[in-house]
Amino acid sequence: MYPAPIEDYIRPRTLAEAVSALARYAPGEAVFLAGGQSLMQAMKSRMVRPRCIVDLQTLTELKGIRISDGLAIGAMTRYVEIAESQAIGPAYAALQDAAQHVGDRQVRNRGTLGGSVCWNYLASCMPAVTLGLGGTMQLLAANGKTRAVSADDFLIAPLETARAEDELLTSITFPAAPANTGSAYKKWGLVTDALPVVGVCMQVTLNAAGACSAARIALSGLSAGAQRAPAGEALLVGSKVDESAMKRALEAIVGSVDAQSDKWADTAYRHQLIRTLGLDVANSAFARARGV
């Protein structure tokens, strides 16, 4: 485990410098380095052998959590900052559930939200969470063009995103949530705070009568990558939000997803994880939506 030789290391001072530094190399030869908690591993195993590193550490525009007509989180915002933030309300609390349990303190002191979604590893938390919360990726290309891509369109498959080779993720934005919206995320891994074998994220909204008026559910850890669970969403919406409605929705998810068997868990065990984690997540998301 040691990186192959690297020719150059650049620490751009502006966003324009960052994207143009990358564009000076052939696609794939220069890479952005955020917290390095995935990329360093990939370089040490030589799955990635860049000629040039473009280190994003000084770009303050990419850092921080902003609340104004929704929520915007800079791509370089670290897990520790999301975990400890006082500004993220119940509608987006799933981000904090996830950030508080990523890896370990040292990983949370370095790893970033943007790095996680751009890497889009199969067993990871933030891709499914941004999908479950309806996040939008804000991208900047070398020619100065910006575009916004929904998490649904951005997260294509494990290790694959809609980000063009020369694009920088600047932030992830989340729409202002309606009143009585809550979210939650929970995962199960082999040891404490390990990579998710299965993770479940839900965001739900209650109407004045206390019924569920909107729901998004996303899963992590399945072989197709972070994915929505529309079968479960459809059953939650309109329901009275009791335990039997939650269980029916989770059973519909179990019946509709493709859950692989591997050395960490077989299909039946993954199904059971979806049921068990899903019930906890639903209870916690609805409790947050009620403001308790």
Partner: protein, 155 residues
């Protein structure tokens, strides 16, 4: 090659290093500070290489030395004030928080920052704080005892 300047334990080290050099190797081999350990062949999972970057615990095999250019690093050698150990170091000694000691520098660097952020932790919080540091000797019980004792000894 890159010429970098890193302040380690208050001393500036200016060296020209290959871009691919890991921070842990810079600390051990360029600066001769071998208190920072490597126990998982740089796989990022053992925590023995934990140092503080600008006061925050990080794994130094998960960073290039070039990334630390212009920053402040603290290693285990930087904790004690001469012969005067920190309360956490004293507590490790008093509570047998180490056996072979290979994991100890990383644990001290991590838990020193942990206690600064959370001076009155519960045992559960201490255990969660230790997730990134593997110890193959102690079974962690004495480590948790030591961290708790250090928290209680602080005034």
């Amino acid at each position: 090659m890159k010429t970098i300047s890193v302040t380690i334990n208050g001393e500036a080290y200016v060296e020209t290093v290959p871009v691919r050099m890991l921070l842990v190797d810079f600390i051990r081999e360029k600066c001769g500070l071998t208190g920072t350990h490597v126990s998982c062949t740089y796989e990022g999972v053992c925590g023995a290489c934990t140092v503080q970057l600008n006061g925050e615990a990080i794994k130094s095999c998960m960073m290039l030395a070039a990334q630390a250019d212009g920053h402040r690093v603290t290693t285990v050698e930087g904790l004690a004030n001469g012969e005067e150990l920190t309360p956490l170091q004293k507590a490790f000694k008093a509570h047998h928080g180490l056996q072979c000691g290979f994991c100890t520098p990383g644990i001290l660097m991590n838990m020193t920052e942990f206690l600064q952020k959370n001076p009155r932790p519960t045992d559960d919080e201490i255990r969660r704080g230790l997730v990134g540091n593997l110890c193959r000797c102690t079974g962690y019980v004495h480590i948790v005892d030591a961290v708790r004792a250090a928290a209680n000894s602080a005034t």
